[in-house]
Subunit: 363 residues, 2 copies
């Protein structure tokens, strides 16, 4: 039984732009705005899974000016004032700092803020909700809590968290001291991390009180803290956008991992297996989605295959395939991608080539 | 120096429908109507390469009612009366028989008729024109001349012509007695045919006089000959379509190879290497067309590739490929094909599946 005295807020970081799901993802339509899984966008799914444990008034979104209307339109339950605009990308640290201040402003008291992502997949939604509540209780007790994802394979694409001594058990979730945040490792290191059973993937989900956030920023990033406070004085006033436009570009660019977490005190990690994926490439969708009887994942459209297995086909049209294995076909209105599954990470090279060719309409 | 006394006519058989180039080829848009190579359709190319050696009035086209307007529109130089309609497919024999009668009718005297195809590729156009003139001279001397294509590989998809004794040389072309027409062989037989140097592919191109045609039909297919004569009595009259509708469905279904050539007398073969291809599959276009510096054949559109070789890409859009070898990508308005090159013959299986699924709009 979890008893909380502080209100639980969520801060969804939705400012990201990515190219790894090109040609579906574009600058004006990043991953969080896409319907990759079922009929809801990744952002809608990120909000949907929170609403059973908090009212929509407590879901804050930080995003870009370009994306705000699109995302707000996708989630009409969220008050429009809950969308904060970052004038430009300055890394996750200032976003979380500002969001925590805004949550406390909305609540009128200290709050627990769950800092979450807008474009990741979580299969076990109920377990995610439960671990969030457990983490919130720990945050009230003074911990900075991070969710450590059970490493399904030795990824070199994620940071890792090494756990130390066991701290406690909350609502069935074992909690450990977070010994060390580690950058994306080499292949050999990653294999070691997975083998030793002491490491989790760093999911980038952090649960802490606004007071803790403020304390850590003032201790570790005092310059940023001062600037965030300056912007925060204009919260909910007509001059907020103006204050942000003035202050934000001068804020030190920093990620929360490097800027705060590595030097933070009292960080706890809850290792969890919630079927998490960052949906970092088209290949990852082949792992997430249930294949059909031929072992293919067909998203939309109509697929007719002869001797085709392990294919991901995303299209609104008829797609016929013959003699293909482990291939990704993404068919959009103006561009088509056909890619060997094992080369899905190289979609970014296509995007780079298009940039070199100044083919901006495809970006 | 070739001296002819009879006018040379061409009979282009353009009634075919095919599925091997699906999704570009459809029932209403068969191969001959497609721009597969350059800016002219296969049919336009078939006509273009004749016009340097005969006036357009001497080019006769036999096709279906559905196709006639389309093809006539593509070749405004040809008189509309030169398009004969076959009410339904009855094989090549009656088409050639009728076409020869029509050519003689148009000329008002005996003629040489070169029976040609509408949807094949010929790279060496000048040599093709020269061999056609040489064949016409031989036809005037009483031979039924067929063009034997140098067999580039042991194809099991073509019939073969075995040559016998050398007959003569006309304008530099060696002419042989055609010993035997052979059906599509087994792989072992095809390998033998290629190895022995005595066989050519049967290209389906025959050059003979209308008198020879009539004589062979009356000898070998007398029933058909009578019916063709009945239809021919209505040539150029308002009742021709009516006569054809009555007579044609009762004509014996027969190919020219089985019905006439195998039993014909005085057949000659001219083995030639004119860069001929029946364009029987998407894979054949990879052999015909010049690859770009990456070894890919890109038809239309805009291709951006990473580690892609041996690909055929036909599209009007942007197509990006990563880590692909020997793959065929054909992108049309409503359907997309992605096919391993070695499986190009199985495109027909897609078409069969669509028929089973009653997806007629894609056929």
């Amino acid at each position: 039984m979890i008893v909380m005295t502080l209100p639980l807020y969520a801060l969804i970081m939705a400012g990201g732009s990515g190219t790894r799901l090109w040609p579906l993802s574009r600058q004006s339509r990043p991953k969080q705005a896409l319907k990759l899984i079922g009929d809801r966008t990744m952002f809608q799914r990120a909000v949907d899974r929170l609403l059973p444990i908090m009212p929509p008034e407590r879901v804050i979104v930080v995003t870009t000016a370009e994306m705000a209307d699109l995302l707000a339109g996708q989630t009409p339950l969220l008050p429009r004032r809950n969308f904060l605009i970052e004038p430009e990308g300055r890394g996750t640290a200032p976003v979380i700092g500002l969001g925590a201040l805004y949550a406390r402003q909305l609540a009128g008291e200290d709050v627990v803020v769950a800092c979450l992502t807008a474009d990741h997949y979580i299969r076990e939604v109920a377990r995610f909700q439960n671990v969030l509540l457990a983490a919130a209780e720990l945050a009230e007790r003074g911990h900075i809590v991070t969710l450590g994802i059970h490493p399904a394979y030795p990824s070199t694409g994620f940071g890792y968290i090494e756990r130390g001594e066991a701290l406690t058990v909350v609502d069935g979730f074992e909690v450990y001291h977070a010994l060390k945040f580690k950058e994306k490792p080499s292949e050999a290191m990653a294999a070691e991390f997975v083998a030793d059973g002491e490491h989790s993937w760093n999911s980038g989900m952090f649960i802490w009180t606004a007071t803790q956030v403020t304390r850590e920023f003032e201790r570790q990033l005092p310059g940023t803290a001062a600037k965030l406070n300056e912007a925060a004085r204009a919260f909910d006033s007509a001059t907020f956008a103006e204050a942000m436009a003035r202050v934000w570009p001068t804020v030190e660019k920093q990620t929360i991992d490097y800027g705060i977490m590595e030097g933070a005190e009292n960080v706890a990690v809850i290792p969890v297996d919630i079927g998490w994926s960052d949906v970092g490439s088209w290949a990852s969708l082949l792992d997430i989605l249930e294949p059909d009887e031929n072992g293919n994942v067909i998203i939309g459209g109509h697929h007719v295959g002869v001797d085709t297995t392990g294919a991901l086909v995303k299209s609104d049209r008829l797609v016929a395939t013959i003699g293909l294995n482990d291939v990704i076909i993404v068919d959009t209105e103006d561009a088509l991608l056909v890619c060997a599954k094992e080369r899905a990470q190289d979609v970014k090279r296509i995007v780079e080539k298009l940039q070199q060719q100044k083919e901006y309409r495809y970006l």
